[in-house]
Symmetry: C2
Subunit: 336 residues, 2 copies
DNA sequence: CTGAAAGCGCTAACAT
DNA sequence: ATGTTAGCGCTTTCAG
């Protein structure tokens, strides 16, 4: 089985076979209407028999655009890569892109100013970028933004009111989750939050506070769980250690809720009987815990799709809406 | 803040500024030694002040190579994308690649013969590909393989004894996990398996069988859990429904183990007291369950790195070892 | 050690 | 409707 890796056919060859000029072939390849029936047929046939696929590099060079878009994941975020949330985002982006002829380049970027990723993007090697931004400090984002159109996943920490982004309504999500607990008759409602330098963390806490104060309830306990399983467990333990006995907890992510569940079990507390738990995300982990998590679902797949869609519009010169906010949805299972 | 998106500097401009020819600049950019001290210094300075970054398209066109590699995820696999295993693989690949000047293109491929992904890869748009292959039916892989160097994540289903791949030792992993249970004094050991068309599923079951028969123990119960949480739960339920009462279960993935745990809890069975559970993967989910999972860790991040490394060697013309097998490792937590 | 020149495969005016 | 002609930015002989 010798690799007869014949180098791919070129426009030139197609033209020769079809008996037309390169221009004509180029026209049909690019869907121009100004081509006669016969020429079209001949070219299509030639393309078929030669299995012609346009050479991307040549096309990029001539058109001065790459038809590639970058997905940039800040390095700090890679520890969250294990979060199914990302998988859904990526899948969503890819789904949307597969209907276009853009390809997706994946970058995991450090904040290093001399960074390879940054200079790559700045070097005109992609047409646009999607940044799944989580943290406050990402200065390189500004530099990228000056070179190519950008869309953010999640509200940028420093909202410069000209950035495009798509986010879920974290405030409403936090509020609704907490309200659900209140409606169930709970009064001593604690919360385990995400980090305070991430909008998602900040906003969900804000939602909790809104619901609590609207109900005339005092904040019972607020602990930072850092969006990780371990962080959630630690936060739970800290609450327990103070001697506080909440009858319900709004936990700002399922991963953290999972961790909290462990501590609760270890402490001999039953969920939801002794304390109700509501998570956030509706990640796969939500059905793997015991009891399964009641949670606020965020449409991550859709978020990915929309982000890609917005970027595509930007690239096509249209002016899409600057911010898109997706709704969260309560998913009731066992824990609350 | 007007976007002064000046188009990136070109070789030509660098050459002009440095007072040399394009060739010379090209030489220093590509690390040729045959350049005088002065020329070198001048060029480096020019590059610096112009923030010159080579245009990838132009370079690709001239060199006839793209410096891009594709990560191909079969579409069937996207449902497993939620599996943290993938996240780790991707991170590993990227880690290795970031030390090279290759970029990563992400593809989620359907089996459609006229598929965009396939023709893209066949069109010479990437220099090589990594296929995270899981299923039996992926015919398009053959076509890709005929066009570019390939490395597989996991043993290809149809091992054609010339494919490069890197895998973990699933047989040994399954065997060791089962043996651990045996050593703990368990005798009625069941197993929940992965799908029978995936090598990982097949091999882990094989390992279970080896350990059981070596210990002179009969297979207690074998149910297919499909590598998903729900599948694991169903399989567990089927075992329970037969009236069988295993005292331990080797579950071939953590996700499935999570599902099984739920059924066990619902049935009023305590883990590990009534039945010990050992999972596989050491995925993040393993610490989110109650009790936390004892499991066989597979080094997914390393697997990603090695895959990328092998492909890079292939691309550089060297001949790396054809198959690399990584070890699994027992992680003892609470469930067994 | 360095420069000139000829492409790489494609697009995009500009003619015709 | 179609062909001709310049490039796009870089690499790479080939001379010098």
């Amino acid at each position: 089985m010798t690799d007869t890796a014949r180098s791919p056919a070129t426009l030139e060859e197609v033209a020769a076979l079809a008996g037309v000029s390169r221009s004509t072939v180029s026209r049909v390849v690019n869907g121009s209407t100004a081509v006669s029936e016969e020429a079209l047929a001949a070219v299509q046939h030639a393309i078929e028999t030669l299995s012609y696929v346009p050479n991307r590099a040549a096309r990029s060079l001539a058109r001065r655009q790459t038809h590639a878009i970058a997905l940039v994941v800040p390095e700090d975020t890679t520890r969250f890569f294990g979060d199914p949330y990302f998988a859904a985002i990526v899948t969503g982006i890819h789904t949307r892109l597969s209907r276009s002829d853009y390809v997706l380049n994946l970058f995991i970027a450090s904040d290093d100013p001399g960074d390879k990723t940054t200079s790559y993007l700045l070097g005109g090697n992609v047409d646009g970028a999607i940044v799944v931004s989580h943290h406050t400090s990402d200065t390189y984002v500004d530099r990228i933004a000056s070179a190519v159109p950008l869309v953010f996943g999640g509200r940028p920490v420093r909202d410069r009111d000209h950035d495009h982004y798509v986010d879920v309504d974290n405030v409403a999500g936090g509020r609704d989750a907490t309200q659900y607990l209140i409606d169930k008759g709970h009064r001593r409602i604690a919360t385990i939050t995400g980090p305070h330098d991430m909008p998602a963390g900040i906003d969900r806490l804000r939602g909790y506070r809104q619901a609590m104060s609207a109900a005339g309830l005092p904040e019972f306990a607020v602990e930072d769980g850092n969006f990780t399983s371990l962080g959630g467990a630690d936060a739970m333990q800290r609450i327990l250690d103070t001697g506080a006995r909440p009858d319900a907890i709004f936990v700002a992510s399922d991963l953290m809720a999972g961790g909290a569940l462990n501590q609760l079990a270890a402490a001999g507390l039953r969920v939801p009987e002794d304390v109700a738990i509501i998570g956030f995300d509706d990640s796969p982990i939500a059905v793997a815990t015991t009891p399964q998590l009641t949670t606020m679902r965020q449409p991550s797949l859709e978020q990915g799709q929309v982000m890609a869609g917005v970027l595509l519009e930007l690239l096509s010169g249209r002016e899409p809406r600057r911010v898109t906010i997706l709704d969260t949805e309560l998913v009731v299972r066992e824990s609350a």
